[in-house]
Amino acid sequence: MGAGPKPASSFLQRLKGGDEVAYLITCIAASTILALTALIVFELYHNSAASRGKFGFAFLFSSTWDPVNDQYGALPFIYGTVVTSAVALLIGIPLGVGAAIFLAEMAPPKVSEALTFMIELLAAVPSVIFGLLGIFVLVPILKWLEPAIRAVLGWTPLFSGPFYGVSLFAAGVVMSVMIIPFIISISREVILAVPNDQREAALALGATRWESTWDVVLPNAFRGIMGSVFLALARALGETMAVTMVVGNDPKIKASLFAPGYSIAAVIANEFTEATGEMYTSALIELGLVLFALTVVINGGARLLVAAGERNKT
């Protein structure tokens, strides 16, 4: 805007052409998003003053959550949020990207269209439905699978201790099902967007179909695929309903994925409505702020990693 004085006639001309108007409108749209985000952060910061004042940074490292005695700490919730999201991504990325490659590169177009439609339907299922499926279908299946999982991975601390069904592991698996549609749908689009010239060039050089996909198409689509993963991660970090129904809701930190846990979004949804007293609500709002910061840190970190990886390649 501050590009210096311009001749009035030129401004009018450009106004007529619609450029200035379009600029203004799109700029307003973009700044609205920025303003909204800033407002959310401000509200969270402002309303958590009591809790921030009382606990300071110890809030992040304490693992006591005791509404009766007004003692609050966020660590078990941060731990649960990170662990469930990590499990979801570990399962979701290979499955999602694999499916996207198949749909974009290998499957006959008709099959691809039909499957893509179904995947988009999956993305529209409300999360409470996933939660119920989690309790009544997935948890019994996981219990049935438990001996097999233990036989293979039981030697690691990750799969030790008693298994009640509801657990960090179950939450991660349910969440992976929820994020896979995002990964598939976006990854498929970006893979399809890679110019055909690239494939043809690779094939012309004697590459097999798979070599052209793996060595030429995927590196081209890498940024887009990572974009889909970031979106999936953001959804996983903030997922509430499905998680609270299968995670066990126990704010304790245990190394085993079979143990129950808790997540930030889940505790806010569970306790906010009945929270009385200034400190209690304030602590819950501060948890919201922590979740926001966590999302920024994890997403920012992942983006930096990707950028560094790309620099190394060239």
């Binding site: 005695n69 066990g248 809701n249 126990d250 009385t276």
Partner: protein, 341 residues
Amino acid sequence: MKRTLQILLPFLALAGAAMAQDILINGAGATFPYPMYSKWFDEYHKKNPHMQFNYQSIGSGGGIKQVTEGTVDFGATDGPMNDTQLKDFEAKHMSGILHFPTVMGADVPVYNLAGVTAQLNFTGDALAGIFLGKITKWNDPEIAKANPGVTLPASDIIVVHRSDGSGTTFIWVDYLSKVSKEWETKVGKGTSVNWPVGLGGKGNEGVSGTVKQTPNSIGYVELIFARQNKMQFGKVKNSAGVFVEGSLAGVTAAAAGAVKEIPDDFRVSITNAPGKDVYPISSFTWLLVPEKIADAKKKAAIKDFLSWMLGPGQAMTAALDYAPLPKAVVAKETKAIAKIN
């Protein structure tokens, strides 16, 4: 245009007149009595078409907050307001707030124990011990001695509690605080507490679902929820030493048993009340009405509704599985209505 106006005008006038007479009263709070309240407000509206009650079941905590802020005309809660909350209200409004018990509820222990079909008996010590994580096996002597003739397995007990803040939890831990000193000092009472052990399920359905799917587990749910879903639940030993099954009669008996101890402000917990028919894990749920209501029409409407709720309203409770108030409490409340001015 003129024609349209001619047709519309009488209607507009009518609407205006109706609006002038209609009284809309807003309330918010507890979810547990919501089905009862919506039935009452609906029936009352049928009898008094110009009076409309609007109730949002946002939770007890929200109810207390909103009535203190003055954004609603009345609140509703499953746990009485504490002294700090009362002081907050007085500081804001220069007058007090009244508690009116409306109906009663109770919590029952539900369990899933393979091979045991008999209805189990629980003492207060056993329940407190289990939820404190001190009694860890089903064949613990404290459970076994209350259940002669039942073969209890030696398996680990898995505790299930509510994960969401709730009046149901408040009643449960209020009872545990009364029967166990250790619970009172270590955990205390509230709509959410720092549970020593156990898994959290969201809502009554979350707890019952987890109990159903987890062998050797025990949890607690609202009596109405257990009855409507035909779940088996345990008997609990009352202060007279009798094992009583949760029932509407047992809950009403709890209020009757505690009636002598009910203070004039009705802020009282009736868990573990005296009497041999008493079901010990029972509680009132309250309406919160400001002592001073500036709007004369609203004041008259609220007072009239309260008297109606204590009269014909109480007859509608059983159909919805709520326990009605005992006569002595109704009489005491009827007197308290006069305090609203």
